[in-house]
Amino acid sequence: MSDVVMHVWRGDADGGQFEEYTVPKQDGEVVLDVIHRIQATEAPDLACRWNCKAGKCGSCSAEINGKPRLMCMTRIDTLPEGETITVTPMRAFPIIRDLVTDVSFNYEQARKVPAFNPPPRPEGGYRMSQVDVERGQEFRKCIECFMCQDVCHVIRDHEENKARYSGPRFFIRYAELEMHPLDTNDRRDLVREEMGLGMCNITKCCTEVCPEHIKITDNAIIPLKERVVDADYDPIAWLGRKILRRTKRTAEQAAVQPD
């Protein structure tokens, strides 16, 4: 069988370059297998993240031929045959070393999400219908590979936006909580004012790279935008809020973490 030629970006925050590696092709291999073979033979210090090697943990995100992919789910035989394969780290995040990036931006965003806040559990447990939980379940399939964050042009080429933009991964988190049958927090103002929902102009790049095929734009971001707009501009909703007691907590209240 022929060889696989791979150009892997090697370096750190101070800069780096592509190194070329040639390894014999093996049946059914994925990009991560080739990286592992390079580590075990030529370059034991080649840095990459991985855990499950089955597309379930979202650790091994990288850009393969310029496109964000999970290395463990990208079979070599699906890439153009005979052509060099280029593997680079995710571009939207600072480099730690080689293919490993500093994804702490995402963990900081996670800390800003007001916690799930259900009513007290009734005797015999909560009751929810399957159809209601399925909406949230779609978003909870997220494996936090952060490729949607990587590809999102609001932050990919605009470091300055990171301070006020939580990104697609967290828009689906907010959507999931908004749609959770039991949640009582209202995060709509927070999402609009602090998390930069308005900066997303629905180009669907995030949806295209999602390895879990979550319809990020259609099922989370657009409905979330609609809800936010409704909350602000819908005169009937406005009147309703004046007359009826709000059942959800406001953004300010929701932003305070419960004990």
């Binding site: 750190d12 049946d27 500093d102």
Partner: protein
């Protein structure tokens, strides 16, 4: 040496899978200073790999279910080697722990009347596994992760603990670790330490486990004075992928069989009917018709033999392959395509569909999967007190896969996720109790700290030496060949000799490059734990001269009632650390009280 980063906490939890997160949440809830230290990014721990569900006798699908039935199933599945008290606590408390997850945001699949849906799994008499499709582990870890983040628990990610530190009285008082991104060391002082480091499976060639499962917790506990039990009991999950070679070992959930999938050999025969052990005969279907009726109504027939406990199914697959009735790539066929509609399969088993489609080019709604046994889980582990998860070392607690006793010689599917949340919580409570009772901050012994750091850095100091990857590769080949699913005296004795050689060679491993995110060095620091736990497993496999659950000896094919009354306990009585001697002694199992014994006696009448 320059100043080392240091942090003081009341409780540190090592490992951020289900058990570690649950322990940290509990201790933090008491208002203590809590740190969570983990080798990977938060949320990537091995718990995400759990697919099928979390076992809890909630009785939502079969009202007849209750903790006693779950207790009985767990003990029988473990071939009665389990610590009865752990099995009891687990069965009693898991329903509350599952409900609690829901209050923290988990979204389980529902029954028609809106309760948590439960699915069938091997060895469980009733449909008992709360689940979310086939990604229950992800749901569990994400729920706990989000809870932990909302509580503002300090998380040290990509930080590997190399050793525990101890005080003059032998109590644990902290840990020495390094940051993987920088290679810089960090020390922790702690009043209590909870180990939740998971398993050991990376020492086998074909495994469902990730690079993290190197037995760090087992090893550092033993090096700090704790005892390990039943390390020979290793579970080979019956259904791992076998092809392509590069994905060999990746898990195929038992949920496929729970939802109607059957195992066939190359003749197309459902061979499991030929392999029903006496212990399970009374409750297992005799014909395909009877088995098929059971799926819709558990009172209309007995259980299909495909849903026997995992050890039974794995051995049967092994036998079929050995007899020449295997699939083209050395497994057997797992067929759900001919038994359920394509829509059902995609809905119930979405990640299996995805996994086979992407990695093997197999559409499981149209064709059968090829599967075979893969190293999956270690039942043995650190010996703990059932109620508090306390180890023999004061201040040290262990929960989840790293702890032994709960599952006896074989774990039932679904009992792992429940184990994590039941005993994670208990470990957190006990660790918090101890921390609250201690007035003084622990003070680390700097000589110890320096010794452990030097130990970890040694591979950089050698100009020439072996590549750690070569050593790991040899270890995996050895454990696969000699201490695999079927064992015998000669092979395990040979394995022990070779393990001794590998230990010598591990002391001569050399790595190049810098300390920042250097996988070669990281592996070099994992090798001492891998070799320690592999030695423990091989010793146990040599001394337990019987076949029971995860220990199968072809030269002793039957269970020995006398050996069924003992745990094999391993310690380092003289000198602690990687190069010190490990002893193994049989010690009597704790005696089950009469009222629990009665559950089994009623049945045999």
């Amino acid at each position: 040496m320059s100043e080392i980063e240091h942090h003081d906490y009341d409780v540190i939890v090592i490992g951020a899978g289900g058990a570690g997160l649950r322990a940290a949440i509990e201790a933090k809830g008491r208002g203590l200073r809590v740190a969570l230290v983990c080798k990977s990014l938060l949320g990537k721990a091995h718990t995400v790999m759990a697919e099928g569900g979390v076992a809890a006798a909630m009785g939502n699908v079969y009202a007849e279910d209750n903790w006693k039935v779950h207790f009985r199933d767990t003990m029988r599945g473990g071939k009665m080697l389990n610590h009865w008290r752990m099995a009891q606590l687990h069965a009693q408390e898991s329903p509350d722990r599952v409900q609690e997850l829901e209050a923290w945001g988990a979204l389980f699949d529902r029954t028609k009347d809106g309760k948590i849906l439960q699915r069938d799994f091997g060895g469980h008499r009733y449909a008992r596994l709360a689940h979310v499709g086939d990604r229950t582990g992800l749901e569990l870890i994400r729920t706990l992760q989000q809870r932990a983040v909302s509580m503002d628990i300090d998380v040290f990610m990509e930080c590997k603990v190399v050793r525990l530190t101890t005080d003059d009285d032998g109590a644990v008082n902290g840990a020495v670790a390094y940051w993987r991104p920088t290679g810089e060391f960090v020390t922790f002082g702690a009043k209590s330490v909870v180990l939740a480091t998971g398993g050991v499976g990376k020492s086998w060639k074909f495994t469902s486990n990730s690079w993290e499962s190197t037995g760090d917790g087992h090893a550092i506990a033993m090096w700090a004075g704790a005892s390990l039990i039943d390390m020979e009991c290793v579970q080979f999950h019956p259904t791992g992928m076998v092809w392509p070679l590069s994905v060999r070992g990746i898990l195929v959930t038992e949920g496929v069989r729970g939802d109607g999938g059957v195992l066939r050999n190359s003749d197309g025969k459902r061979f499991m009917f030929e392999y029903v052990a006496d212990m399970f005969r009374a409750e297992t279907a005799e014909s395909e018709d009877e088995a098929d009726r059971w799926y819709d109504d558990h009172t209309a027939g007995r259980r299909p033999p495909e849903l026997l406990p995992r050890d039974e199914v794995a051995r049967s697959i092994n036998s079929e392959v050995k007899a020449g009735r295997g699939s083209p790539h050395g497994g057997v066929f797992l067929d759900i395509a001919s038994r359920r509609t394509a829509d059902d399969i995609r809905k119930r088993l979405p990640s299996m569909y995805h996994q086979f489609m992407e990695l093997a080019g197999v559409d499981i709604t149209r064709e059968a999967m090829e599967v075979g046994p893969t190293c999956h889980y270690i039942m043995g582990g650190v010996q703990v007190d059932p109620d508090t998860a306390a180890t023999a070392v004061p201040g040290l607690y262990a929960a989840g896969e790293v702890a032994g006793g709960m599952h006896g010689s074989n774990r039932l599917g679904g009992n792992s996720l429940s184990d994590l949340i039941v005993f994670g919580r208990r470990a957190g409570i006990a660790a918090a109790d101890r921390a609250e009772s201690m007035a003084r901050e622990p003070k680390l012994n700097q000589a110890q700290v320096t010794e452990y750091i030097d130990e970890a850095l040694a591979p950089f100091t050698r100009d020439s030496g072996e590549n750690p990857y070569d050593l790991q590769h040899e270890l995996q080949e050895l454990m696969q060949a000699n201490v695999g699913i079927i064992r015998n005296e000669a092979e395990v004795v040979e394995a022990l000799e070779k393990l001794d050689e590998l230990k010598q060679r591990a002391a001569n491993v050399a790595v190049g490059g810098g300390r920042a995110y250097n996988p070669g060095w990281n592996l070099a620091t994992d090798l001492p734990s891998m070799l320690t736990v592999s030695t423990c497993t091989a010793q146990g496999a040599r001394d337990r001269r019987e076949s029971r659950g995860g220990q199968t000896r072809e030269d002793f094919p039957k269970a020995d009632p006398e050996l069924g009354k003992v745990n094999f306990v391993q310690r380092q009585p003289s000198g602690r650390g990687f190069s010190s001697e490990i002893t193994i002694t049989p010690e009597p199992l704790p005696v089950m009280p009469d009222e629990l014994m009665a559950i089994f006696e009623e049945e045999s009448k």
